[in-house]
Amino acid sequence: MDVIPGRQNHVWVTIKEPGVYEGACNEFCGQQHAWMRIRVVAQTPADYARWLHATDQPAALPTTAQAQQGAALFAHYACSSCHQIKGTAAHGHQGPELTHFASRRTMLAGLLPNTPANVSRWLTNPQAVKPGAHMPRFIFGQDSIRALTAYLTQLH
């Protein structure tokens, strides 16, 4: 179904087996149309209730020193003006919500598996990973990137 500004539309999917179902954006939407993939995770009602409860929780507090440094950097740089992390001061709505970022299997709408190495690559130069993305290129030092990666990858 098309998503068009100023219009309401609906789609209904009945999934009979729990599992992971692949999907993708079909209507040409610009430069990164190819990497606007969709993943539907179908669960039993009990699993779903557990997931829903976990999702409602605020973000995990950083425990290691490096992750704590990353949390400080996240607040210090402009990250919070676009991203939201529940339980912190970050309340932006332009970019993806990151409260439970580490619980996702892929990142950047299905482009890459969600691994610390890929998160570091992305933070180093977003345009090299996904040309046309709106994430600006911050000139982070290697230490900052390691700290931010440590923080983001423990947000289960």
Partner: protein, 563 residues
């Protein structure tokens, strides 16, 4: 009523030959108002853009050869597929169709020229310079990158700020105006300049189809031209026609575009139907079976063409009532098309078939177009459409009808009329090679795309994840594309070779039925010294076999007695 004499400015020297090396130089082409010269130039324009659009899509196919390829940047990729689609529709198919129509319609109806020769020249140059303007965008900061359909809101300035889409609007407006003037010219010519004695029901089917196409163009193109002007206002003067934030509507663009876009499909296919009707008849040694049904179903298609556009928009969510109506009307349009297929089969039935290259393309068309028609019907069913819309299944479908229908028609017409247009014969053996290479490459490219679409591969993606089966199917498709590219180069060689040193063609190489074959090859400036009497749809055959003429047996079934 005597035919109105048409004032044709007489050049002092005879018509230049087909090659550009003619002694009169380029000036006689640039200043031409003769319908034959303009028709030939239309065909050269189409060939030029055929090569450009082919090059673009081969780059796209290289990018898709392996998953996660980085051969092209997404920016470049989007510009290339946008320009490929735009070029194919507006700068290859349309100029080629108008090339044949401009060249052949006066000859087929016994006229000296089109009704408005100077307007004819204006139409050609508007089309050509519109195309040039569109391509100039590559030098001006980037080609259009929102697809040939150019949907809102992606076509708005804040989503596509390079000047490509402005050039898209300006270029297509220019060529669109040229198309409308050309269509008016053809309609007036067909209705007013037929040789006395030729009733509407004596017109060749090709002329009928051009008449219908002319009406379709006049009715459909204004919707596109208006939409383009509105979009240009949106982008340049901050109007809000398609901007939902400011009270406009993004869906309005889709309505306007497909209100033009679906009749456009029939604008592209009806002339091909006309070409095939001539070819099936001549190479089966029979009159076309059910002339009235072929023409009548053409009229039905032309009328229904304006009532099906929402089948491009089922996913917009316009409601079940709207979707149901347009689903039914879309299935309805399959009926007159099916009638035509059976008419052509019946034309061949018990005919004395000659498999020239033109006839081979006609038979291949029957197979490929039927495949494209069947996949088309599957889109008329809303739930299937929702599953398959904007996947490679659609890409396969449109190429089966555009290539298997329109382009095969244009190729068949080329092999059929080239001797008349150039006065030279094409190399038959090499032409058969071209036929087989092209048909094989075409099926290799697009048959597998049905599967890719069913597997869920979206259209217009610059790369894809390494899912099972996707890489191998895309590789087959790319190799098929290169086979078609090689075949096209062979065609170019065949044409150039024939023009340079091909054997001279007789006036009537195929023992054909219609008036264009009664004059010399190529025709003189005035087309005819005198025109033979027209008393049926096969005047030249009546003339050649007066004892067995069609008009002597009006009540009998021509399909049986007309051999």
């Amino acid at each position: 009523m005597a035919p109105q004499p048409v004032l044709v400015p007489e050049p002092e020297q005879p018509l230049p030959s087909l090659g550009l090396d003619s002694s009169q130089g380029l000036l006689q082409w640039i200043s031409a108002v003769d319908h034959k010269q303009l028709g030939i130039m239309y065909l050269w324009v189409a060939l030029l853009f055929l090569l450009a659009g082919g090059l673009e899509i081969l780059l796209v196919r290289v990018q898709l050869f392996v998953p996660r390829n980085t051969f092209l940047s997404p920016e470049t990729y989007n510009q290339l597929f946008t320009m490929h689609g735009t070029t194919r529709v507006f700068l290859v198919a349309m100029p080629a169709i108008f090339g044949y129509a401009t060249y052949l319609v006066p000859l087929m109806i016994g006229a000296n020229d089109l009704a408005y020769p100077r307007l004819n020249a204006l139409s050609l140059w508007l089309t050509f310079f519109g195309g040039c303007l569109l391509y100039f965008s590559f030098l001006a900061g980037g080609g259009p990158d929102a697809g040939w359909f150019n949907y809102a809101p992606l076509n708005q300035y804040n989503y596509s700020s390079s000047p490509g889409i402005d050039y898209y609007c300006a270029g297509l407006l220019l060529s669109g105006i040229g198309t409308v003037t050309a269509a008016i010219n053809l309609v007036v010519t067909i209705l007013r300049y037929r040789i006395p004695g030729m009733r509407l029901k004596d017109m060749p089917v090709f002329v009928w189809m051009i008449l219908l196409t002319g009406f379709l163009v006049v009715a459909a193109f204004p919707a596109l031209n208006a939409a383009l002007a509105m979009l240009l206002l949106d982008r340049q003067l901050h109007a809000h026609f398609f901007n939902a934030d400011a009270g406009g509507s993004a869906v309005l663009w889709q309505h306007l575009f497909w209100l033009f876009g679906h009749p456009e499909v029939y604008i592209l296919i009806l002339p091909a139907f006309g070409i095939f009707s001539e070819i099936f008849a001549v190479f089966s040694r029979k009159p076309v079976f059910g002339y009235a049904f072929i023409v009548g179903s053409g009229i039905a298609i032309a009328l229904l063409a304006f009532g099906v556009w929402v089948h491009h928009m089922f996913a917009v969510g316009l409601g079940n009532t709207v979707n149901g109506f347009f689903s039914a009307s879309s299935m309805l349009i399959g009926v007159p098309t099916g009638i035509k297929i059976f008419n052509w089969l019946a034309t061949m039935y018990k005919g004395s078939l000659r498999f020239t290259v033109a006839m081979r393309f006609a038979v291949a068309f029957l197979v490929e177009f039927t495949i494209g028609g069947l996949s088309g019907i599957s889109f008329a069913i809303v739930p299937i459409d929702l599953q398959l819309t904007d996947t490679y299944y659609v890409v396969a479908h449109i190429h089966y009808v555009f290539i298997g229908g329109t382009l095969f028609g244009l190729f068949a017409g080329l092999f059929y009329w080239f001797p008349k247009i150039s006065g030279k014969l094409l190399d038959e053996r090499l032409s058969r090679w071209f036929f087989w290479l092209f048909v094989l490459g075409f099926n290799a490219t697009f048959l597998v795309q049905h599967v890719l679409g069913a597997l869920g591969m979206s259209r217009r993606i610059y790369t894809y994840p390494d899912l099972p089966g996707w890489a191998i199917l895309n590789q087959i498709s790319t190799l098929g594309g290169f086979l078609m590219g090689a075949a096209t180069l062979l065609l170019l060689y065949i044409i150039v070779k024939a023009i340079r040193r091909g054997p001279a063609a007789p006036p009537d190489p195929w023992d054909a039925y219609t008036l264009e074959w009664t004059t010399s090859s190529p025709p003189t400036l005035q087309n005819f010294d005198r025109v033979i009497p027209v008393r049926s749809a096969r005047p030249y055959r009546d003339y050649k076999r007066p004892d067995d003429a069609d008009y002597l047996k009006p009540g009998k079934k021509k399909g049986v007695h007309g051999k």
